[in-house]
């Protein structure tokens, strides 16, 4: 057993979110990994294929992990059915830090699969509802068919979350908003001491964070993606400037990330 050895887990349920994305719920075969904080991730291993870093999108002792099929490993994970064994290493990285932001409004802004790591923060805040102020979830998706957790959104609204959704392209029958997520931010009603968590494509995070700063919200945290071969500070692949993102991230303050993200190919 070393830090590179996966812990065996088994798929309990497989829920298809969209045409290319599924949420797996995993339970340990024997020993479990240490408790996961919202925003942390694991490396999921598909036997013989390889590992991919995937955020934990729930809060329970069972691991909810939402995977989008984009390549060999993620494909093998998305087709894993109940009973199938998956290797898990983690929990890895620093999370959103939502445990420490009690008493404040919470804004969560997601683009595409970026909603996966935000769901854990949202569920955490709902489990400790009295400890937080207003909770706003802003979601951007390519089309209505690409929306993750669509079935859960009514429940979140029912528990006092302001959920706003926008899509890039709508089909007939969509009566929601169409356009950029930044438009949602510009209508935001949150106290300046709110904490904002943002995850999505890098360009979406930069535009969203800028808009949040313009609205007077200073504490903006983003979750970054880089190649990760080890997750534990060994391989050097996840560097961005001063950071090893598997160790010092993936969640970082936007303020510190902004000058790095503005340099091409850093």
């Amino acid at each position: 057993m070393t830090a590179m050895t996966p812990t065996p887990y088994r798929v309990v349920t497989r829920h298809a979110e969209t045409h290319d994305t599924v949420t797996l719920t995993l339970e340990p075969c024997d020993a479990a990994i240490a408790p996961v904080r919202p925003g942390q991730f694991t490396l999921l291993y598909a036997f013989g294929v390889g590992e991919a870093p995937i955020s934990v999108s729930g809060t329970g002792p069972l691991l909810d992990q939402t995977v989008r099929d984009v390549g060999a490993v993620s494909h093998a994970l998305t087709v894993a059915g109940p009973g199938q064994m998956i290797g898990v290493r983690g929990p890895l990285g620093v999370g959103w830090g939502i445990e420490e932001t009690t008493g404040r409004d919470v804004v969560l802004a997601a683009g595409g699969i970026g909603l996966a790591p935000l769901r854990s923060a949202l569920l955490y805040a709902l489990e400790h509802r009295a400890s937080y102020g207003d909770i706003t979830l802003l979601v951007g998706a390519r089309t209505p068919g690409d929306l993750l957790y669509a079935a859960e959104m009514a429940d979140w609204r029912g528990r006092g979350v302001r959920v706003e959704v926008t899509v890039d392209r709508a089909h007939s029958g969509w009566d929601g908003q169409v356009g950029l997520i930044t438009t949602l931010v510009s209508h935001l009603d949150a106290a300046p001491d709110a904490v904002a968590f943002v995850c999505g494509p890098e360009i979406m995070m930069r535009l969203t964070a800028r808009e949040l700063l313009a609205r007077g919200i200073d504490d903006v945290r983003i979750s970054l993606e880089r190649n990760m071969r080890c997750g534990i500070g060994w391989c050097g692949h996840c560097q961005l400037g001063p950071w090893l993102l598997c160790r010092d991230g993936p969640v970082v303050p936007y303020r510190d990330a902004a000058p790095l993200l503005s340099v091409r190919e850093l």
Partner: protein
């Protein structure tokens, strides 16, 4: 107290008697390589080297010095952090799952004979990366703690050396069990003790007390070597800030027009630690393995993401390497990633010299300020 050893045969013999695999410099195929020394006779007596950007040649010396040859193509890195290791093996189980086994390999017990001060510091830098964090690499740790280290102070810096300006040589400060200073032309060595294990080993071999004059003379030779370095890193204290402030420098385009992105510099560097993992299966699909191997930030796939690599241009890859080595290494691991051994200059096929690149970046920064 310093001692004088007449040759190294007894020292080598004592290490072998203690079960160590003795690794040290030896002449092989036109280079001074690090390999197992069957006896002290395998040391490269009488060999020196001529170093230049993109060039390495061995040459016959007038004397029979054992350690007067500067850093060679290898460092000690491959022994502590091997280029390829198997991390684990997995097997399909009857119930459709899999089981994973890690082999408990007995770590080799190395004695490193002739670790130059730059390379000694490099081992310290590597230790910090490999076993200084929250997830220590235990296999590295086992190889490392088992190693007996005999450093050798440097009296023969090369054309591409700049350890003095990086503060890592020419005299070894800490991190050794024993440190030798070669009394060139005499076949004798001054030996100083670094640890209890070093003292115990010396106790068992024939030696003489070194008188003060001999000790002072030998150490004066070492101190004088600081002035014979072929290169100097300009203003090393300011490197972290210089690199952090040079991300948009025009110099990167200039160096990119010369750099072949071959990655040689990362392979020969004694502190470059990056690896990748490979997952493989046999034809039946019943048996899987994960292997770790050295990787290089010059490789296009190094920054692979599903949407395409982050660093596609050669410019961005050279910038990543130099910025990490001299700048962000401080942020990540609390020291410089460069010890001034000069290997990357020698083994670069086009002779790119990082001290020159730094000087150019500094000049550009000053121009921008004015």
């Amino acid at each position: 107290m310093p001692w004088i050893l007449d040759g190294l045969a007894d020292l080598h013999g004592a290490l072998r008697a203690d079960g160590y695999t003795v690794i040290g410099p030896t002449y092989r195929d036109g280079a001074i390589v690090l390999a197992e020394l069957a006896s002290a006779d395998d040391l490269p007596y009488g060999w020196g080297v001529t170093l230049e950007p993109g060039g390495y040649r061995t040459r016959r010396r007038e004397d029979d010095a054992a350690f007067a040859h500067s850093a060679g193509p290898q460092s000690w890195k491959p022994f502590l952090h091997p280029p390829r290791v198997k991390l684990w093996e997995g097997r399909r189980t009857e119930d459709g799952g899999f089981s994973i086994e890690t082999e408990e390999e007995t770590p080799p017990r190395y004695a490193f004979l002739g670790v130059r001060p730059c390379d000694l510091r490099a081992i310290g830098v590597l230790d910090h990366v490999m076993i200084g964090g929250a997830h220590p690499d235990e296999a590295y740790g086992a190889r490392r703690t088992g190693a007996f280290i005999i450093a050798v102070n440097c009296t023969e810096p090369g054309e591409t050396c700049f350890c003095a300006s990086m503060g890592t040589g020419p005299r070894a400060d800490t991190g050794y069990d024993l440190v030798l200073t070669e009394l060139i032309g005499e076949g004798r060595f001054l030996a100083e003790v670094g640890t209890g294990a070093g003292a115990a080993l010396l106790d068992r071999i024939p030696r003489e007390e070194a008188d003060e004059a001999v000790t002072e003379g030998a150490l004066a030779e070492v101190a004088a070597a600081a002035d014979r370095m072929g290169r100097e890193m300009p203003e090393p204290e300011g490197l972290r800030d210089l690199l952090a402030g040079s991300l948009d420098a025009a110099r990167w385009d200039d160096v990119a027009s010369r750099c072949l992105t071959c990655g040689n510099c990362t392979m020969v560097c004694p502190t470059c630690f990056c690896t990748t993992v490979e997952d493989v299966t046999d034809l039946t699909g019943e048996h899987a393995e994960r292997r770790q191997r050295w990787d290089s930030c010059f490789d296009l796939d190094f920054s692979h993401l599903p949407g395409g690599s982050v660093r596609t241009s050669g410019k961005s890859r050279y910038r990543q390497w130099l910025t990490h080595k001299l700048g962000t290494w401080h942020d990540q691991f609390g020291s410089s990633g460069c010890v001034g051994c000069g290997r990357c200059i020698v083994w670069c096929p086009v002779g790119i010299d990082l001290t020159e690149e730094v000087a150019a970046l500094r000049e550009e920064q000053e121009e921008r300020r004015d």
